[in-house]
């Protein structure tokens, strides 16, 4: 019987492997599609040569530059930012036992936007990302203090977050309109996200900053499993629920905050992806957190691909694409409970 040696069904890590393969496929598609189309074969040759394997003909040097200096950092930043959204959505849904928890809907994203906008006054991407992480952590603490954890009723939970988010977004607007436009990205970046400005510098700072928080969240997987029993029984099993909540909220704030500082707010990834992963792989948080990170990266890449081709050669903000998919999903989610009630 499967249940004895693997009660959570954690063997369904195969789902994560499949998502990784899809992610790799999406990455190749994103590398090849754009104002200049580069055939997948040539993309492979360029990548192979970069790691020292000379296969086929010498690739075109212009194509090489497009792939390695423009598209590659953009894709990797997109993967990390999407992973940040996916893993934080999964962590919040587990922490609050609430299917509609999402960092942006709860107002943590807008808090990160404000921090990121203020941080970008320094004129550096490092400042924007650090500011986003700090803003995200502060907003996460505010959400925790507002007693979101006490209210398991989905609608109230989201209304609180929407009010908080709207209020903070107004301040983001003030900062953007008052500040030097050459330093602070425009308001649509903060509200809808954009991967267009990503560089290798963005990738390094984002990965370092978000990495610490991701580590904390992955370490909390077992704690989140225990919290699935409800706060009261988790306490009875010896869990320090307040400390666990604090660590997870700070981790969520740092991870999504760094992502917002790098690419702005890209909505709905954190809401949609964990549900799909749970449906495919079960609810064990080790798999859900990891799968939501990979799935989040995948959804971001697909959305960015759409954002670049839908009105090519122009680009639309990537958040328009995720919202177009995520909005209807959200409506479906709040109509229908995830698990049928007896």
């Amino acid at each position: 019987m499967r249940s004895m040696d693997d009660p959570f069904g954690a063997r369904r890590r195969g789902v994560v492997a499949v998502l990784l393969v899809l992610l790799a496929g999406a990455a190749v598609a994103n590398l090849s599609v754009g104002p200049v189309t580069i055939a997948p074969g040539e993309v492979f040759r360029i990548l192979a040569r970069t790691i020292g394997i000379a296969v086929g003909d010498e690739p075109d040097s212009r194509a090489r530059a497009v792939v390695l200096t423009i598209r590659m950092p953009r894709i990797l930043v997109g993967v990390v930012a999407g992973a940040a959204a996916g893993i934080t959505g999964a962590a919040l849904q587990g922490l609050f036992r609430n299917p509609v928890a999402d960092p942006h809907l709860l107002g943590i994203g807008p808090g990160a936007s404000l921090g990121g906008a203020l941080g970008s006054l320094t004129g550096s991407i490092q400042g924007a990302i650090a500011g986003g992480a700090v803003g995200g952590m502060i907003a996460a603490l505010v959400v925790r203090r507002l007693g979101a954890s006490r209210s398991n009723e989905p609608s109230r939970f989201v209304l609180t977050g929407l009010a908080l988010g709207a209020a903070i977004s107004a301040w983001v607007g003030f900062v953007v309109f008052v500040a030097d436009r050459t330093r602070v990205p425009p308001i649509d970046f903060w509200l809808l996200g954009n991967l267009g400005a990503s560089t290798w510098d963005t990738l390094g700072t984002l990965t370092l900053t978000a990495g610490v928080g991701v580590f904390a969240l992955m370490g909390a997987a077992r704690t989140l499993d225990v919290l699935s029993l409800g706060e009261a029984d988790a306490r009875r099993l010896g869990l320090d629920v307040d400390m666990a909540t604090l660590v997870i909220m700070l981790g969520v704030g740092a991870v999504i905050g760094a992502a917002v500082g790098a690419v702005g707010v890209v909505v709905f990834i954190g809401l949609v992806v964990p549900h799909v992963v749970r449906r495919l792989a079960g609810a064990s948080h080790r798999v859900v957190l990891l799968g939501s990170a990979v799935g989040g990266g995948l959804m971001m890449l697909l959305a960015d691909l759409g954002a670049r081709v839908v009105v090519s050669p122009q680009e639309v903000p990537v958040g328009l694409l995720t919202a177009a998919v995520g909005g209807p999903f959200f409506l479906w989610l709040i109509r229908k409970p995830e698990v049928p009630q007896p």
């Binding site: 040696d5 959570f8 069904g9 049928p340």
Partner: protein, 257 residues
């Protein structure tokens, strides 16, 4: 190892409402102790105070002389398990996973291992008769099945003190009998077992000691045959009751008039 769970001068008040009033209680291993009484008498509050869920308004609860509030959460989880009635019904895990979460406080105990955890989980599910639903999702179970799974989770904690709030409330007669039998055998296993029970005849049959709680006070405490009397029950429940010798086994039979 003999140890003791004691309440001394324990009262509990919420605002102006006195829920429990000056209770003294001494509990030792080896007995199944039933707490009975009408709705709102304070049975669940008493059980939760004994489990250290909240501090009493006055008095203290001690385990082997140590005030329960001085015991760290994880240590307390190794000492006592509490089956409450407030758990969620939509836990998204299979039954075996829910039961295995009961092992959480044992995970870093010396001598424990993943294989021992798995063995305890398997044995406990077998004991509770739920092995056949091990792979079903908890959220899809009936309320009776859920209560068996929650009880199995609490038993898998392997704590020397077991506090159970109506463990058989949603069970049919046959399963209730079997479950009470298992709970009783736990008490013979050198554990302190206290259970709030709704059915007086179940208490009369299985308990070694019955504590009758009424309006926040302990009004009777002793062997069921001695304390569950017609006069006392009629008075406490404000409903005519009669206690007669059971026609085909030892012990009292409580008849509701």
């Amino acid at each position: 190892m003999t140890f003791q769970l004691a309440a001394t001068g324990v009262s509990y008040r919420v605002g102006q409402t006195q829920i429990l009033h000056q209770l003294d209680l001494d509990l030792v291993p080896g007995q199944l102790v039933a707490v009975v009484g009408p709705n709102g008498a304070g049975k669940t509050t008493l059980l939760h105070l004994l489990g250290g869920e909240m501090p009493p308004s006055t008095g203290s609860v001690t385990i082997d002389g140590t005030p329960i509030r001085d015991i760290a959460a994880l240590e307390l989880a190794r000492l006592r398990a509490l089956l409450a009635q407030d758990g969620p019904s939509d836990i998204p895990f299979p039954v075996a996973a829910v039961v295995s979460l009961g092992r959480t406080p044992q995970r870093r105990v010396e001598g424990n291992s993943a294989s021992r955890d798995a063995a305890v989980v398997a044995d406990t599910m077998e004991e509770m008769g739920i092995s056949h639903i091990a792979d079903r999702l908890f959220a899809t179970l009936s309320s009776g099945e859920r209560s068996l799974v929650s009880l199995a989770r609490v038993l898998a904690q392997e704590s020397p003190i077991l506090l159970l709030d109506e463990p058989t409330g949603a069970l049919d007669v046959a399963i209730e009998e079997r479950t009470m039998d298992r709970i009783r055998s736990r008490s013979k296993d050198d554990r302190i077992v206290v259970s709030v029970l709704h059915d007086l005849n179940v208490a009369a049959k299985y308990a070694d000691r019955s504590i009758v709680v009424s309006r926040g006070e302990i009004v009777a405490d002793g062997a069921p045959a001695d304390v569950l009397t017609s006069d006392l029950l009629t008075d406490v429940y404000r409903h005519p009751m009669r206690v007669v010798p059971h026609p085909f086994r030892e012990g009292p039979l409580i008849l509701v008039g």
